[in-house]
């Protein structure tokens, strides 16, 4: 147990000026340790996600064990597996139904870029439909890599200001995907 990295209290909580810390940090930390994933598992990578949820890798250590199959409750859309062109609109709708703040991980080669399936029916990467925050390479990625991806999202969540979702850049990003 000794070598477990423990979250430090947000800076500023110690010492006299304890309110100097911004709310952003605290909420960012809270968010990062409570990323409820929506496993959008279509194929092979979904099985690896099962392994990630399983006892040996245990995604719950990161507070991300409660899979929310309802997009309203999810914070993290994990797209795992091939997204065919037929599936694209569904994926987009799921993304639209999610509440802010939302993050997207493209797990595996198929979701990130189409991978080996360079064919008429496969979407060449989900970032043509929705904005993606983290790409996890591998086909399928090992659970370790999926956890890496999750930790990357945690990192993003911790460093995101509370107001980011209201900024112009973010709106422009959504606009570019026509999801606003």
């Amino acid at each position: 147990m000794s070598n477990i990295k423990i979250v430090d209290a947000p800076e500023g909580l110690e010492g006299s000026g304890f309110f100097a810390t911004s709310l952003d940090k605290a909420i960012g930390l809270a968010r990062s340790y409570s990323l409820w994933p929506l496993p959008f598992a279509t194929s092979c990578c979904g099985i690896e996600f099962m392994a990630t949820m399983g006892s040996n890798y245990d995604i719950s250590r990161f507070g991300a064990e409660r899979p929310s199959f309802s997009p309203r409750q999810a914070d993290l859309l994990m797209v795992m597996g091939t997204i065919a062109k037929k599936m694209g609109p569904v994926l987009k709708q799921v993304y639209l139904q999610m509440a802010e703040p939302r993050w997207v991980i493209a797990v595996g080669a198929c979701a990130s870029s189409g991978g080996v399936f360079d064919s008429y029916s496969v979407l060449q990467g989900i970032d043509r439909v929705i904005p993606v925050d983290v790409y996890v390479p591998g086909c399928p990625p090992r659970p370790e890599q999926i956890i890496d991806g999750l930790m990357q999202v945690q990192h993003l969540a911790q460093n995101e200001s509370l107001r980011r979702r209201n900024t112009e850049e973010y709106k422009a990003l959504l606009e570019s995907y026509k999801v606003l």
């Binding site: 147990m1 477990i4 990295k5 423990i6 979250v7 605290a26 909420i27 930390l29 809270a30 968010r31 990062s32 340790y33 409570s34 006892s55 245990d58 719950s60 250590r61 990161f62 507070g63 064990e65 899979p67 929310s68 199959f69 309802s70 309203r72 409750q73 914070d75 509440a99 802010e100 703040p101 509370l162 979702r165």
Partner: protein, 381 residues
């Protein structure tokens, strides 16, 4: 007078706060217990041993975008979680969390209020708990939610009956509707569970059903109905639903502990009381003894919460029609039989002995006659 009121107010607030805190940490406990049962380690990043995990969840839920689906019924959509949470919290009022404490020369109950219809109160509030789910599920305007709501409503109504009848046996034994007097009647180790083993099992099962826990978690069974009645809820509204479930679990455990496991009674309590009074004086000793009783109660509550989770992570869930079958064809008759046995045992004057004798007779009849019935039904088909 004033001190008494203030102390009472403090107790009420404390009960409230404890219920909330318990609910908060039950989520953590659920995660850890689930993890341990499944050979995992559970949350261990947010704070030491993941102890800050509930805070992280809460913080996230509070700051998540709160939106109401366009097709939803706006007011009822908001009302649903509120009702669920408030009804869940209300029933903690009549649970005696301890004996009495002596403040300023007066004995004050460690209880929200000691009404002589305590059990009816619990019963009434529990029956209202379904409104939160029903309203929320309907207002979401989503078919999965509606199915969840409908399942929740029919399940709660069905299981309330068996619950009520199994409770009647307890009332018959103690002759009081006040929870406090029921608890006081189980002094020492004279617990009701020894008189009412079957009633206890029935009540336990019904409380599982009332809390929507596995094997009765049909309203939110995620493999069938996505998330059931709270499919459309996000952010803190869903948080309230989740919390209310855990508050319900806490209250159920407390009720179970009070009614069947003697509440704040524990074996050898008189000895402890006398020792404490002897060494610390009348007031302090009494208060200390009460504190020990409260601790005992909480230990029992923890046990029940653990049991609930243990059951949840072991058993598969029922199907809708099987759930109804169990309620109406199994639990109701058995509860009535239990009631009759209890009544007879009470009349006999030796309740402990004759309760068991009655149960034994019932068991013998059941296991002796059931095969014959079964054969008949098979041949009828």
């Amino acid at each position: 007078m004033d001190t008494v009121l203030i102390v009472k107010a403090i107790i009420v607030v404390a009960i409230f706060a404890i219920s909330m805190l318990m609910a908060l940490y039950e989520t953590y406990a659920e995660r850890v217990i689930a993890a341990f049962i499944q050979d995992r380690v559970g949350p261990d990043r947010a704070g030491p041993f993941g102890i800050l995990q509930p805070l992280a969840d809460g913080g996230k839920l509070f700051f998540k975008e709160d939106f109401i689906p366009a097709k939803a019924d706006k007011w009822l959509f908001i009302l649903g979680p509120a009702v669920a949470m408030s009804t869940a919290l209300l029933s903690s009022a009549v649970i005696p969390f301890g004996d009495t404490i002596i403040v300023a020369g007066q004995k004050i109950d460690v209880q929200g209020m000691d009404v002589n219809i305590g059990i009816l109160w619990i019963f009434g509030i529990v029956s209202l708990g379904v409104y939160g789910i029903l309203i929320g599920g309907w207002a979401s305007n989503n078919k999965y939610s509606l199915y969840g709501a409908i399942r929740a409503a029919s399940q709660t109504i069905s299981y309330e009956l068996a619950m009520g009848i199994s409770l009647l046996a307890i009332i018959l034994m103690t002759g009081s509707l006040s929870v406090k007097s029921i608890v006081l009647g189980q002094h020492g180790i004279d617990w009701n569970i020894f008189y009412q083993p079957m009633g206890f099992l029935l009540f336990l099962t019904c409380s599982l059903a009332e809390c929507n826990r596995t094997p009765f978690d049909l309203p939110e069974s995620e493999n069938e109905l996505v998330a059931g009645y709270h499919t459309e809820y996000g952010s803190m509204k869903m948080g309230l639903y989740l919390f209310s479930e855990y508050v319900n679990m806490f209250i159920s455990s407390a009720v179970l502990a009070s009614l069947y496991l003697g509440g704040f009674n524990y074996p050898g309590m008189d000895f402890v009381y006398n020792k404490l009074v002897g060494s610390f004086g009348e007031v302090t000793g009494h208060n200390l003894a009460t504190a020990i009783g409260t601790l005992t109660l909480f230990l029992k509550i923890f046990f029940f919460i653990f049991l609930f989770m243990w059951i949840r992570w072991t058993l598969p869930r029922f199907r809708y029609d099987q759930l109804m079958n169990v309620a109406w064809k199994w639990m109701m008759p058995v509860a009535i039989v239990n009631l009759i046995i209890t009544a007879a045992a009470e009349l006999s004057g030796k309740p402990l002995l004759y309760n068991w004798v009655g149960l034994a007779i019932f068991g013998a009849i059941y296991f002796g006659l059931f095969p014959i019935f079964k054969k008949k039904t098979v041949s009828a088909n």
